[in-house]
Symmetry: C2
Subunit: 174 residues, 2 copies
Amino acid sequence: MNVQDAVAILERTPSAVSALLDGVPDVWARATEGEGTWSPYDVIGHLVHGERTDWIPRARHILSGEPRPFAPFDRMAQFTESEGKSLGELLTTFAELRRHNVAELLALKLGESDLGRTGRHPDFGEVTLGQLLAMWVVHDLDHVAQIARTMAKVYADAVGPWQAYLSILRDRQR
Amino acid sequence: MNVQDAVAILERTPSAVSALLDGVPDVWARATEGEGTWSPYDVIGHLVHGERTDWIPRARHILSGEPRPFAPFDRMAQFTESEGKSLGELLTTFAELRRHNVAELLALKLGESDLGRTGRHPDFGEVTLGQLLAMWVVHDLDHVAQIARTMAKVYADAVGPWQAYLSILRDRQR
C-alpha cells in the first residue's frame, strides 16, 4: 500500500456515501438486512465514530511508540451517538471529520519506514501503520458495499424472477 | 415498489459512482476480482450499455404490448464499446444517459396498473414493468457494491491481521 493511493479512496468516501444517501426516503436509509444488522443510517454513525476514535488516534499511537495496546473500538457507539441526528447531519459531520483527518494524515509526511512501525491491537497484537492505513481504506469500501447491499435487499421480492440473477441478494443471507 | 422510491436511487447512481471513481489511480479503476471478473472501469461501460439498450427500451416494449420477448442484453458489450474511452468519459456518458432516461421514465407518468403490465424476458418469460423497474434499481446497487468490493480486494493482503475481520474480502471468492 502507499499513502497516495489510500488517500485517493479516503478523500472520496464522504462524497460517495452522500451521493448514495443524502435525501433518500427512509425506505432506503433505515432498511436493514434483518435483526442485528445495520441500516445505512447506522453505518454513517459508525463511520463518524471511527473518524473520532479509530484511525488517526491509532496512527498517532503507533508513531508515539506507545507500547500499550490501542483503546478498543466501540462498534455500537452509533446507537447512542447518532440519537436525534438526521442522516444529513451525520453525512456532513462525516465529511468534515474525514477532511480534517486526511489533512492530518498528509501532514504526517509518512515515509516507507514509518509504514513499517508497529503498534498493538487489543485483540490480535502486532500491526503495522501500513496495515492500519490499508484497513482504513478497506473498512470504507466494506461499508459502501454494505450500504448498497442493504438497499438492494429492499427490492429482493420486487424484482420477481430476476432474483435468481442477483447474487447480491444472497450475500450475507442469514 | 413505487416509481418515486426507485427514482430516488436511479438518479443518484451516476454521482455515487463518479464520487467513488472519477480520477482514481488505475490501481483501483482497473482492479478485478480475478480472471473473468470485471474492473470498475468495465462495470461503468456495462452501465452505459444498459442505459442504451436495456431499461427504458424494455419499459417501452412492455407498454407497447409487444408479445415477442425483449431483445437479449449483451453482457459483454463494454469490452468493445469502451475501447479507447477514459473512465472519466464513461462516467460522463453514464450520467448523461441516466439523466435522460430518468426524465423519460417520469414522463411515462406510470400508474399502479401500468406497473402490473407484462412483457416476456428472453430467458425466463413473463415479467411485470414493476419488476423491471425494481431490477433497474437493484442492478445499480449490485454494481456499486461490486465496485467497492473489487477495490477493497486490492488491499486484501495489505491489511495484515485485520483480514479476518473483513468478510467483504471473502465475498465472491473463487
